[in-house]
């Protein structure tokens, strides 16, 4: 299990290769990468705030839950904080499992919990001002799937 919370950028390809290389007997590897979108146009900066200490604990718990539930061989979570700009990579997860169904489901599960249970908050800054991104009701209800 590899959990990282950092302001520095990460290299998706390098992380995916390192993750894949350290697996044995895992038939399926899934990665999910979240990217800053300029939805309305004019996004200058997306600032991600987090709760140091709790963030790492929450991500570790979420990763452990996924590992137990889906019998994963391995999990990686990297989540950035601080100022990001459009097309920057925000975060990634990777899962390794013997079969594809559990690798896919685990990645989906991780993302659902990461969205609503990991203490990150996004603020969008445009030339018109800045606004905190509101949580979506659907993100909360998505947890009921599991």
């Amino acid at each position: 299990m590899d959990i990282r919370v950092q302001s520095a950028p990460f290299d998706l390809g390098q992380e995916a290769n390192a993750f894949a290389a350290r697996q044995t007997g895992m038939g399926a590897i899934v990665t999910f990468t979240g990217v800053v979108r300029d939805v309305a146009g004019g996004l200058d900066v997306m600032e991600i705030e987090h709760y140091p200490g709790m963030t790492e604990a929450a991500l570790t718990q979420i990763a452990q839950d996924a590992t137990d539930r889906f019998a994963l061989g391995d999990v990686l979570i990297i989540h950035r904080h601080g100022p990001l700009t459009p097309d920057d990579l925000i975060m990634m997860v990777a899962t390794a499992a013997p079969h594809r169904a559990s690798a896919f489901e685990a990645a989906d599960f991780l993302m659902d919990y990461l969205k609503s249970r990991a203490p990150f908050w996004k603020k969008e800054k445009t030339s018109d001002g800045s606004d905190w991104v509101a949580a979506k009701d659907e993100d909360e209800t998505a947890l009921n799937r599991w």
Partner: protein
């Protein structure tokens, strides 16, 4: 006890942290004490349905007891990922 604020809660209160001496038995009792402090606290805690709380870095409810609480944090619903 450290009381932490994040995102717009932090902005509304104007600071990231208070160190609080309190006999509050529950989170809700602590919220009432904070509300009584100043209008900006009252504003930040006006609508509890838009807030979440963690005690000792674990998500919990507003009726959670504060026994053994070293750190309480208030923040809006999370938007990670």
């Amino acid at each position: 006890m450290d009381v932490l604020y994040f995102a717009w809660v932090r902005e509304r209160i104007g600071r990231p942290k208070d160190v609080v001496e309190t006999q509050a038995a529950t989170v809700m009792d602590l919220v009432e004490e904070l509300r009584a402090r100043e209008v900006r606290y009252e504003a930040a805690f006006a609508d509890l349905s838009s807030l979440r709380v963690a005690v000792n870095q674990e998500l919990t409810d507003f009726d959670a007891p504060l026994e053994n609480a070293r750190e309480v944090a208030f923040f809006p619903p999370m938007t990670g990922g």
